[in-house]
């Protein structure tokens, strides 16, 4: 678990348009600069929003990556719910205390 670096990737990506272009061109190379576990790296590469949520990525970072991956708002919400169903409770970060099932 290296949630700090995983979130740092999204922090950098959200605020740096040059990095966004680089990332679109060569994801693997951009990811090499961040100390991610194999599971985290794969979740990013596959755009697996549900798993990223379960791994603990803060929604204020994740919602922008979801939009970057082309997900509309309801699809982003659904992806997190699907992630909970498939991978279980949020494992780290701010949401680890919630039941994570969603209220609506």
């Amino acid at each position: 678990m290296s949630l700090y670096y995983l979130q740092k990737l999204f922090y950098e990506l959200n605020r740096n348009e040059t990095l966004q272009v680089e990332f679109r061109a060569n994801q693997e190379q951009v990811l090499d600069a961040f100390e991610l576990t194999g599971e985290e790296r794969e979740a990013v590469l596959l755009g697996n929003i549900g798993l990223l949520y379960v791994l603990g990525v803060n929604g204020q970072l994740l919602m922008h990556y979801a939009a970057f991956c082309g997900l509309a708002w309801p699809d982003y919400i659904q992806a997190m719910r699907d992630g909970i169903t498939k991978y279980g409770q949020v494992r780290a970060g701010l949401y680890a205390m919630t039941d994570g099932k969603g209220a609506i």
Binding site: K8, R15, G59, Q60, L62, H64, W73, A103, I104
Partner: protein, 275 residues
Amino acid sequence: MPLVFAGVTSHAPGITGRADQADPELKHGFRDALGHMREALEASKSDVLVVVAAEHFANFFFNNMPAYSMGMADFYDGPIEDENWLGIQRVRIPGNADLSDRMIRSIMNYTDLGYAQEWKFDHGIMVPLHFLTPDFKLPVIPVNINCQCPPLTPLHRTYEFGRALRKACDSVPERVAIVGTGGISHWPATPDSGKVNVQWDNDFLERWKNNDREALLSYSDEETYRDAGQGGFEIRTFIAISGATEGVTGDVWYYEPIPIYAVGCTVGVVNGFDE
């Protein structure tokens, strides 16, 4: 000059980004109230607007997270988010580095804070400005209180920060307006997005209206997280305004939960600054 205007409002990105997905009556009701707030702000003839906000990892991250920070630049750019996603075009907003410098020096007599000579506004500031200074011409000074991730500054420190901010406003010759922007209860950007605890919000707003210091400061973060979600941590922005207007009551001009905006949409104005 003594402070010329103080208020609070919401900043959820859905307010502009998903504007038309809301019930039209709610959308227009909220926007009308924001319009009245804009008129009151304009009538105050302020030289500058200090926005006390809770940003969302746009400028401040876990590598170096200040509890309080204030902008000290002559301009700011925003929104940092995708323009289409937020529904607000990118724009350069004037600041006032000299005034920031004087206010920060004043605040530092009472409480510690960081300063920032570069600051990209996220929805936490852009959404309120979109309605309150729609031509983006009024100089703005941003303040950030970390409300995103614990450890968070205790509520009583936030009230003290508000007091210090008020002393700074009163100590400069410029006419200063302040607006706090955040929460109240909400679970933004999570599977619970859209959930609002109306009862909790109404109770909080009652405390805010009365500027009931003791009641405002009585929440623990555990209680807030349980009852008002992680978005509820943003009550700090409202409490800072209460600290800045200690002993003065306010009015809530609008409060309605608008689920697709993911927050109970709020417009509140502190009394007595319109004479």
